[in-house]
């Protein structure tokens, strides 16, 4: 099956669900969410049997000759980021179904579930955008898919239209998103001017060519890095993150911090790749080193005073962006060791697992207690011991305790930083990781040491999809922490 069917199927699924939703009269809308999940699982399975024009099985096929392949690639890295997009969308949908009671209160006209139906199909459409991004070979293609993603997210963020926080977040995201789009287009224009092409392969050639005008090219690159810096939440372009994350509906926040961030990093990686061996590499990568150090410091130290769990996770997502940026900046691509692209991919996969799990806990907290503050977790060990143990594992992984997937990711990043002899950034990463222990353990302190505000136990339906998904994520944290090879296998050939 040619790979471009994947996006076609996904976007069709999104549109069909949207239409079906419009004509539906049923009071409950969860079936849309479940259909979306089933559809995406099918697409996920198809990802493994899809082919690009390079593979042997597609030889002689008519579709392998389409001009589309000049814009669209399907290699190991495209496949990997499509998987990331699909998996994060599936978990986001599960989360959205659990969260619908809160969402219905602020989205529907009569407080019923009628208003929540479109939400599921928007997630599916955003997923298609991320999948397209993963296959971009050309800056124009990258730009269009990134815009599809961003525009969908404007709606997802402001979805709870009767909630001031959600609206405020929507406006902030809209304004800053538009600004970053401006930077992106302008940057691409400069690069086009300097290189004469928007094709990444052509840009690679142009960047190595002596006659290329260096200053305009670097200016364009800087503008694009700023635009992508907004998407991934790199300091000093991170201002929007805490407010938008806090205001947006929790499933949107989860999708934003996992899916959108992964897409942003994927875009950054494919954008940076043409320059990694060019004469401009030194300047570009030292700019990334500075960005990563700033992001590490802002994210980790900004998280320390937070009392709101959601805001804490927002800062944690900034902090993790710092670690990933450090791996990008290390610019490793030796054949016998892990390349930067592999480390970034692994880190993002691990980050997906543990951050999703953390948002599951957060949404449970919101649905059960109506609060998103850390003190709502007080005495959780007495109210629901199994949930307390689960949260402990998730927080330990976010902090980077060994035998969890979070540690393996950080471990690779440190290794890459040391291999590239980036001593100062490595020290900053170590110090800020230590700060991370402090704020993640603040949550553990609430769970285990503080006495509960309420005595009644937190109910917990052991048969629900939600519980199953949370168990699955927690098990994956531990499994990949001890046995990272299966994840690494997916990253084989990612360069």
């Amino acid at each position: 099956m040619p790979a471009y069917f994947l996006e076609a199927l996904t976007v069709t699924l999104g549109i069909v669900l949207l239409i079906a939703e419009a004509f539906s009269t049923a009071p409950r809308r969860t079936w849309i969410g479940f259909s979306a999940i089933i559809g995406l699982v099918v697409v996920l399975a198809l990802t493994f049997i899809s082919l690009g024009p390079e593979s042997l099985a597609s030889e002689g096929k008519n579709w392998a000759k389409y001009t589309l392949w000049d814009l669209y690639k399907f290699d190991a890295s495209a496949r990997f980021y499509k998987i990331i997009a699909l998996v994060s969308a599936i978990f986001t949908l599960i989360l959205a179904i659990e969260y619908r009671s809160v969402m219905a209160r602020f989205a529907g006209d009569k407080g019923g579930e009628e208003g929540t139906g479109e939400y599921y199909s928007l997630i599916v459409i955003a997923t298609a955008a991320m999948m397209w991004m993963a296959s971009a070979k050309n800056l124009s293609f990258l730009f269009v898919s990134l815009e599809l993603l961003t525009v969908t997210f404007y709606i997802l963020v402001a979805f709870m239209k009767r909630n001031v926080g959600s609206l405020e977040a929507g406006v902030k995201y809209l304004i800053l998103g538009a600004l970053s789009t401006g930077f992106l287009v302008y940057g691409i224009a400069w690069i086009y001017g300097a290189c004469g092409s928007m094709d990444l392969a052509q840009i690679t050639l142009a960047a190595g060519f002596e006659g290329t005008a260096g200053t305009p090219l670097l200016f364009g690159v800087a503008l694009v890095i700023i635009a992508l810096g907004f998407k991934i939440g790199a300091a000093p372009l991170h201002f929007w993150i805490p407010d938008v994350y806090q205001g947006a509906p929790t499933p949107t926040t989860a999708f934003l911090s996992v899916g959108s961030k992964a897409a942003g990093f994927m875009a950054l990686m494919s954008f940076i790749a043409p320059f990694s061996h060019s004469p401009y590499a030194g300047k570009i990568f030292s700019a990334l080193v500075i960005l990563s150090c700033l992001t590490l410091i802002v994210g980790n130290f900004g998280a320390i005073p937070q009392n709101n769990f959601k805001r804490l996770l927002a800062y944690s997502s900034i902090a993790n962006a710092g670690f990933i940026l450090l791996a990008v900046a290390a610019n490793r691509d030796d054949a016998d060791a892990l390349s930067s692209a592999q480390i970034v991919g692994f880190y993002l996969a691990g980050y997906l697992i543990m951050t999703m799990a953390a948002f599951f806990i957060l949404s449970l907290l919101r649905v059960q207690s109506g609060s998103e503050n850390i003190d709502a977790l007080d005495g959780l060990s007495k109210r629901n011991p199994i949930l307390a143990v689960t949260t402990t594992i998730i927080m330990a992984s976010l902090a980077g305790v060994p035998l969890t997937v979070g540690f393996v990711g950080k471990f690779f990043v440190f290794q890459a930083a040391l291999a590239s002899q980036m001593w100062v950034p490595a020290v900053i990463a170590a110090v800020t990781a230590a700060a991370g222990f402090y704020y993640y353990f603040k949550i553990l302190r609430a769970i285990w040491w503080n006495s509960p505000n309420h005595k009644e136990p937190i109910p917990f339906d052991p048969t629900s999809v939600f519980t199953f998904a949370l168990t699955f994520l927690t098990a994956a944290i531990l499994l990949f922490g001890v046995w990272p090879e299966p994840l690494m296998k997916l990253l084989n050939g990612v360069r």
Partner: protein
């Protein structure tokens, strides 16, 4: 097959969390680990104990278990003995049995995993696994200002671990492998050649990193309050077993792989270890409570083991063989682990039967509790280095290692000077142990001790086993020393 030694306490801990009867499961697991662990330690050369499962192809990391050498065997023996004793000691707070026993078993599993790992990655990872339940136990069930103490130990040990991690990653990078056995073999074959400047930096990271975990002066201030606050099994397992991880790491990695780097830091290391022995020793004398006194004494005794490490480094730099240094360090680690575990276990018993550990409020406890007094006497005498008990053989060898291979006509080197100064530590130990013993057990009974009870029969078993180990190893240290050959 040695991963079973790790797996038994680990699986038991998980089972307890999911509802197995806490105390019974913990004790059964403790005894099972003891039996298999001791058997494995005494037959460690057998290939049957090694196993390895690749978990990552690039960089190549294996979940590899086995014995690196005889030092690992001695540490495993120590760990299983203390684990079994710890599961029989102390009393879980009402309603917290699950967490209490599961945490103890997790600490034991982590320590065993670290001593049995032959891969650097998991060597580090298992130690961290053991730290989390330690923090939890102190924070949840500790005495006194437990929360502050738990934060303090978390920050100290967390920072120490990160520094250590940097050193280990760097070391693995220079050595080109995470496999400890391969590293040591390559070193023997002369295939590892790390340049002196790099060695120096890595050695500094390892000394500070491992040193913080072992409470090397001046990174020691977390230790005494933590042990004083920790519940008995946690204090036994951490002070007795887990803390030895740092010394074990220095002995297995830093001393053989970084001879030049370690030698470059020899003098600072000697100064710091004298800080442990003399400075912390004097602080120990000044303690007014039994638990803080034991905590400080455990910090102080680490100095002797560092002295043996320093002697090994100095001899190898001079190109001489030091037959005493490594056995001294290994035997003293074992002896100290057993004796401090016994002391913490008994201190808990004293507190439970008298309600206080303040030395000023204790007195004459030997009358109502003769067995307790006898056991505490044995452990205390062992701790101060009385001949015939395990610590003596270790300490004597440490002092001998300081002078081993010295040309009698040459002037005293820094190691010899440090050895002579550290001999004063024996006097210091004698002062505080004997004073504590007199204040606690001798004289007339006071309010708190009049109605004190002796150790009940079941609690006597682990204490007597530990005391017997001290005696057996003291009389026949070769039992352990021959494991090193």
């Amino acid at each position: 097959m040695s991963f079973f030694i790790f797996l038994i306490p680990f699986v038991a801990a998980v089972a307890i969390i999911f509802g197995a009867p806490p105390r019974l499961s913990a004790r059964v697991a403790g005894v099972a680990t003891l039996v298999i662990g001791l058997y494995a330690s005494f037959t460690w050369q057998c290939d049957c104990w090694t196993s390895s499962v690749p978990v990552l192809a690039s960089p190549s990391i294996d979940l590899a278990f086995g014995f690196v050498n005889g030092i690992s065997a001695i540490m495993v023996a120590l760990a299983v003995i203390v684990t079994a004793a710890a599961t029989f000691t102390g009393k879980a707070p009402e309603g917290r049995e699950k967490l209490y026993y599961a945490s103890s078993l997790l600490i034991a599993a982590g320590a065993l995993g670290a001593f049995l790992s032959t891969n650097l990655f998991f060597f580090y990872a298992f130690h961290e696994l053991a730290l989390i339940p330690t923090f939890l136990m102190i924070g949840l069930m500790g005495r006194g200002s437990r929360k502050e103490v738990a934060w303090k130990i978390t920050i100290y040990l967390g920072a120490g671990s990160l520094i250590l991690l940097a050193g280990l990653v760097w070391l693995a990078r220079e050595a080109g492998t995470y496999n400890i056995l391969a590293m040591l073999e390559a070193q023997k074959a002369g295939k590892i050649d790390i340049d002196p400047d790099t060695q120096k930096t890595i050695a500094a990271l390892l000394i500070v990193g491992f040193g913080t975990l072992v409470s090397l002066f001046p990174f020691h201030s977390w230790a005494a309050p933590a042990y004083a606050s920790a519940p008995a099994p946690t204090a036994m397992l951490h002070a007795g077993v887990l803390k030895k991880f740092g010394l074990y790491g220095l002995l297995q990695l830093a001393v053989p792989l970084l001879p030049i780097g370690m030698n470059a830091w020899l003098t600072p290391l000697l100064v710091l270890l004298l800080g442990n022995i003399l400075w912390v020793g004097l602080v120990t004398i000044n303690q007014k409570r039994l638990d803080t006194m034991l905590g400080h004494s455990s910090v102080m005794h680490m100095g002797y083991i560092f002295l043996a490490i320093a002697a090994a480094v100095a001899s190898s730099a001079a190109g001489k063989e030091n037959i005493f240094a490594i056995p001294a360090a290994a035997i003293l680690m074992f002896a100290h682990g057993i004796s401090i575990a016994l002391l913490f276990g008994l201190a808990d018993r004293i507190e439970r039967s008298t309600g206080t550990l303040d030395l000023a409020e204790l007195g004459g406890l030997a009358k109502p509790a003769p067995a307790l007094a006898f056991l505490f006497g044995i452990a205390g005498m062992a701790s101060l280095g009385l001949p015939g008990l395990a610590n003596f053989s270790g300490e004597v060898m440490v002092f001998l290692s300081g002078f081993a291979g010295r040309d009698p006509s040459s002037p005293l080197g820094p190691v010899q000077v440090a050895t002579i100064l550290s001999l004063w530590g024996v006097v210091i130990s004698a002062v505080y142990i004997l004073r504590a013993y007199r204040k606690t057990f001798q004289g007339a009974t006071v309010n708190s001790t009049v109605n004190a009870t002796d150790i009940p029969f079941f609690d006597k078993i682990p204490a007597f086993v530990l005391a017997a180990v001290l005696l057996v190893v003291g009389i026949y240290p070769n039992l352990l020393a021959r494991l090193l050959q």
